[in-house]
Symmetry: C2
Subunit: 452 residues, 2 copies
């Protein structure tokens, strides 16, 4: 296989994303996440390296499972405070021309009518470079922010999401015809009313009777990302997603996920290759192998085990503060925790984990595999993941900002390019055109079925 | 009186804001509202002129009262299509240092928990230059976008708004103490959990049990704008607003509004001068008086009467398509229409208006007074409005973009400065510091009562 590898950079509008405690590293600048200049600099760096997109995580809640409080998360800056990610994109779009932007938005907490307009606005302002990571929410603390006692059940959230998708597809694809906007000063017609259609929706969860407020944007439906790892989540991804993020500790562990996702796409009547599958990984890169290992050792001095356990407790719903540091974690599988703890166990289903081992693992790169090496070594390892698992590329987390991404751009990208495995120029057009060579979702995607 | 006059520029993320049809003018560039460069250029122009802020209107719905369809609004580009305004601000903040940004957000359609975070994010990214125009919504078409048959009653909307304000005040002012963020790499403490407080709210309309997701932003509560003209709206403004927009045809017509608003502030226990009152106006400016009149005549050639009536029908709820062009409009006063049609009649309560007269008036500058003259003449007229009515300044609409605002900056501002009625440099600090000389809302404002 000689396909080019897709690479997204992974960040969040917060001080500590996937490597708890690393904000204390002397070279880490993530404290400046509230400054536009920090994000503009990052966008320029990524575009210099021809990185496909910046993927922005988000969570509308706090990690308060650990010890039943948010104290550990607050103390260690573990994904809290966390600002709105979508507002970063216009500023980064100002200083770039090709970089894509994936933004995580939790559909449970935002009505589809204003949300669809917000995404269309981003698609206009970026000239078609925006993607939406569809999230149904996973923290009870977020539900409490909305005045609810706890979030609705896992599978039920996906039923709501299916209904929500129908509404936003109708707004994006089924309201304005391609040539509805005339904008002709001579004839004085801005839009042809006959080509702007009222969307009527009367679903189980959402009702709507309105035209879409935005005129057609370059992509219409933004590029659709999804990351659900559960059975129902993968079914949803197979139906809707164009890019799917997965996470697993080894190539052997993720291979069946990749196969399963493509089967889900086929089952939904889609071409399995219409899913771009990106695996989460955290590279630590040096000019030499030794330098990379030294960097890894240096980074490890700044980790926060407490922060790591707060993160892992939030992901799994298992309060790890109740265990001793050397206890083996035994837990009852539930909807909320199985996909997260599974990613520790699928590599070797018989392996057990102590709390200390979990903390040490999660403190650098969260649950993702950490790839340590020279630029060439990391490039080779990434290539082997793609070739042996059938993934299309990576979603790469940082450890130290912006060092992790400048290392990626300066040391890994040239090695991939030298091996013919990374593009040497951006393709023209929108994000969807760059990734899939087409402007619109294909006819066998559910969004196309409501198109006018 | 020699106080300096406040000036905001008024725009909307759409092709035709207050002067229907003028998008067809050869020199009008508002068609580029989907481009970031258009907004960046505008922001630079306004900052060059020391304009206090750019005020962005919004409406989450379409003008479909006229003829019971949105056809006229669509055909004439009358505030539709309309994109999300908040996403423009980060890009404009990138290219400016002092310009303020007021953004209209309809609270009925966005839950307070994510909304409070969105505003805090804007306040961080702009370094404290953001204001929020509190709107409760006025179009039934917007309610239909949310799956409701019609919007809730007018006064009921303000009851909901009062509850909403309590929630967002608690999130902005009552969750994080000033020194909660330590961010000390040496002690490895990001935030002190003892200084981050859970907000509990159990109101009639909103419930919440969560910490605010954003760390303290420069202003905490954004600068608060409001524009309600009804009795209940003015009461709300007296309680909450720091800046109030009003609209009336003459100085005599607005003077009692100004007095009434300051009385409402006093009745709410506030200092009447803590309200900055800004009147809507549309200047048409030439290098000479004759040039301004010629410009006005030229602009008039591009108006859309149909668009003007679509706008006015939406504002009032009165379908003006049911009248002949020369009919006098007679209507039954309701909550929905009284404030809008009142602004035509308070100048002379006995004067009647034909549909044609309404169309001609509204087609340039909407319901606002139009001030035509040389820079000096417009400056003198603005000064007389301030001195004779007690307003603090203006919210100035454009006719042709960006010509109206470059004329303002190049021709009017220097005349005001020469008369000692406009600043010659921005004041330092946040938007609130620039306008009020203080960083936080004063102790007698309801937001201060929930402060920790």
């Amino acid at each position: 296989m000689t396909t080019e590898i897709l690479i997204n950079a992974f960040h969040m509008n917060t001080v500590g994303h996937q490597s708890p405690g690393l904000w204390t590293h002397p070279r880490d600048h993530a404290r400046h996440y509230t400054d536009l200049a920090y994000w503009a600099d990052l966008a320029r760096t990524l575009e210099r390296g021809l990185i496909d997109g910046l993927f922005l995580a988000d969570v509308l809640g706090v990690y308060d499972v650990y010890g039943s409080t948010a104290d550990a998360a607050l103390r260690n800056g573990v994904q809290v405070p966390v600002n709105d990610p979508s507002l970063l994109i216009p500023a980064m779009a100002m200083v770039t021309e090709n970089l894509g932007f994936g933004v995580t938005c939790t559909l449970s907490f935002e009505p589809p009518y204003p949300f669809a307009r917000r995404m269309s606005t981003l698609d206009h302002l970026t000239k078609g470079r925006v993607g939406w990571n569809i999230v149904t929410g996973y923290l009870d603390s977020a539900a409490k922010g909305m005045g609810e006692r706890a979030q609705v059940g896992h599978d039920r959230r996906y039923d709501i999401a299916d209904d929500y998708m129908q509404v936003v597809y109708k707004l994006w694809e089924g309201s304005w015809e391609d040539d509805a906007v005339v904008a002709d000063k001579a004839t004085r017609v801005f839009a042809d009313p006959a080509k702007v259609h009222r969307v009527r929706h009367d679903g189980e969860f959402y009702k709507l009777d309105a035209i879409h407020l935005s005129e057609p944007s370059p992509q219409r439906t933004p590029l659709l990302f999804q990351a659900g790892a559960s059975g129902r989540g993968r079914q949803f991804a197979g139906q809707h997603a164009e890019c799917v993020f997965i996470n697993g500790p080894t190539k052997a562990a993720i291979k069946p996920y990749v196969t399963g996702l493509r089967e889900q796409a086929a089952a939904a009547g889609r071409d399995p290759s219409d899913l771009k599958i990106l695996a989460l990984a955290t590279p630590i890169i040096g000019r030499t192998s030794a330098e990379a290992r030294a960097k890894h050792a240096d980074y490890t001095r700044y980790v926060s085990h407490e922060g790591a356990l707060a993160l892992m407790s939030g992901w799994t719903g298992v309060d790890l503060s109740k265990y001793g540091f050397d206890d083996v974690v035994r837990y009852e599988k539930t909807d909320a925790n199985h996909s997260a703890l599974e990613s520790f166990t699928t590599a070797d289903p018989n392996r057990t984990w102590t709390v200390r081992e979990i903390a040490e693992k999660v403190a650098i790169g969260g649950r993702s595999p950490v790839i340590v090496g020279s630029g060439a070594e990391v490039a080779e390892e990434m290539m082997s993941w793609v070739d042996e698992t059938g993934i299309d590329g990576f979603n790469l987390a940082y450890v130290v900002m912006p060092e992790s991404f400048t290392d990626l751009v300066d040391l890994v990208i040239p090695e991939l390019q030298a091996r013919g495995r990374f593009k040497t120029a951006y393709r023209p057009g929108t994000l969807r055109e760059k990734l899939f060579g087409r402007a619109r979702l294909p006819h066998n995607h559910p969004a196309a079925r409501v198109r006018v």
